[in-house]
């Protein structure tokens, strides 16, 4: 069960009614995994339907940890927190995303949903190498905490000066760089539940099936080569 509106990063706290609805749905369908994003969408009584970025500060870490604890208590289970696609960074950030997530796992007991497409989108938009950003996440987050992986394609819009702006639109095939990083992750962690997100411009079923088959072949290969880390 993948939520998008809990607004785990809201300094104003969680919407109790919405949390109760999520908890009720969770009781009804008993999902294997429950997740939401490292982001916020509510502030000052307004709710914006987007995954808005956080400054990676000590204050934000305390806010997210408090909110995650409230959700895990209401649901009676661990939740996974997904690294979001980022388009801008705040001047007030003094932690890395990797360090922030690693510390969040430590203090709240949550897990991590590793979205590899989001790593590629964020790295591109912030001027970093995707492999370096992924390596930092794998170094800071314990392998056992990574409970699920997301894959997707993204759009690239060229700005007037030719700078590529990567937009996480889930509307195209998984890109070669994302597949390559997925192989890296699976080789290091071993198989993980993996979801391909393609929810705009949805293609014919055989295209989706081929994407799933590619992911499965990488997962199967890792299953036959159990040399991955377990801790």
């Amino acid at each position: 069960m993948h939520a998008t509106g809990l607004s785990l990063g809201s300094a104003d706290g969680l919407d109790d009614e919405h949390l109760a609805d999520i908890a009720e749905l969770c009781r009804r369908i008993e999902p294997g995994l429950v997740s939401d994003h490292l982001s916020w969408s509510a502030a000052g009584g307004l709710h914006l339907p987007d995954l808005l970025p956080l400054p990676y500060s000590e204050e934000a870490l305390a806010v997210v940890a408090r909110n995650v604890d409230q959700v895990q208590t209401a649901l009676g289970r661990q939740i996974l927190i997904e690294n979001p696609s980022i388009y801008l960074a705040f001047a007030d950030s003094d932690l890395s995303e990797a360090g922030f997530l690693g510390e969040l796992v430590r203090v709240s007991g949550c897990g991590v949903l590793l979205d590899i497409n989001n790593v590629v989108v964020t790295a591109g938009n912030l001027g970093e190498a995707p492999a370096d950003r992924l390596a930092a996440l794998l170094d800071h987050v314990p392998a056992a905490a990574i409970g699920e992986i997301h894959l997707a394609g993204h759009a690239i819009r060229l700005l007037d000066d030719g700078t590529p702006l990567r937009i996480d639109d889930h509307g195209s095939p998984v890109g070669p760089e994302t597949w390559s990083l997925f192989e890296t992750v699976i080789r290091r962690l071993g198989p993980r539940p993996t979801l391909i997100e393609w929810d705009t411009d949805i293609p014919a079923f055989d295209v989706l099936h081929a994407e799933a088959a590619t992911a499965q072949s990488i997962l199967d290969q890792a299953a036959w080569e159990p040399t991955h880390a377990t801790g």
Binding site: G44, V63, N125, G127
Partner: protein
């Protein structure tokens, strides 16, 4: 800057279009305006599409471009204050009624009210417990909890039915002048039923749903029709309606 202030400023900047209201950003390869515009596009797109899903008949009547413009104007004055996106737009019909560019379509607000009622009904449980209404010692009604009665000022139900049936001939014959229409809306499976009621039946049912006793509900019906005609309408349109179940069958209503 404290996190609460940062988030309020960013939310305000996204909704107002004022990039200068953003909290301080770190330098990066993507210009701030382009980055903020991604979030602004996501937020506005999601809100306009949420309204389109709740108000499909309005969208079909005015077309996508006009709907998008009207919805964006609504978002600017009534940004969402609930976490549940599907609940956004309760004030959209009243906004449409006062929207100057829609003034030539005086029935549009009522079409929106009916769309909203359908959306609300579809969000209610279908099966399960019904609302039990005891009229007197002899008669009790079991009604769907999704059942609602709307009082509309135009024939929005006929407009919606004509568009759903793609029946241009029926649409051309609709009287678009102001008129009171009482319409029952309730959920049936994955769909919502919309049924026009006569004035006595509609007033009776509306009163019952508001918790009135049988005498009060009958008085409302008798205010617009002679008692025999009113009772006949109530029997035919409420007691024998597809949505109602009579749980005690000794049906006797005195004319008072």
């Amino acid at each position: 800057m404290r996190l609460a202030e940062l988030q309020r400023r960013m939310a305000g900047a996204i909704l107002s279009g004022d990039d200068d209201a953003m909290p301080p950003l770190a330098p990066g390869p993507i210009p701030a305006a382009a980055a903020i515009d991604v979030h602004r596009g996501t937020v506005m797109g999601a809100l306009v599409n949420a309204l389109r899903l709740t108000f499909p008949t309005v969208d079909e009547l005015v077309g996508q471009a006009f709907f998008d413009q009207m919805a964006a104007a609504f978002v600017a004055v009534q940004p969402p204050r609930l976490a549940r996106l599907s609940a956004y737009g309760a004030l959209f019909p009243d906004f449409i009624e006062a929207y100057p560019l829609a003034a030539t379509l005086p029935y549009l607000a009522d079409v929106a009210r009916l769309d909203l009622a359908v959306s609300v009904a579809l969000a209610m449980p279908d099966a399960g417990p019904r609302r039990h209404v005891t009229l007197d010692a002899a008669v009790s009604l079991a009604l769907p909890i999704s059942l609602n009665v709307l009082s509309l000022g135009h024939a929005a139900d006929l407009i919606r039915a004509g568009l759903e049936a793609d029946d241009d001939q029926a649409l051309a014959q609709i009287d678009l002048s102001p008129q009171t229409r009482l319409v029952a809306v309730w959920r049936t499976g994955r769909h919502a039923a919309v049924l026009a009621l006569s004035p006595p039946a509609g007033l009776f049912l509306a009163a019952i749903l508001k918790g009135a006793d049988a005498d009060t509900a009958l008085a409302a019906a008798f205010s617009v029709a002679a008692p025999p005609a009113a009772l006949q309408a109530i029997h035919a349109e409420v007691f024998a309606a597809a949505f109602a179940q009579i749980t005690q069958t000794h049906l006797e209503i005195e004319t008072r």
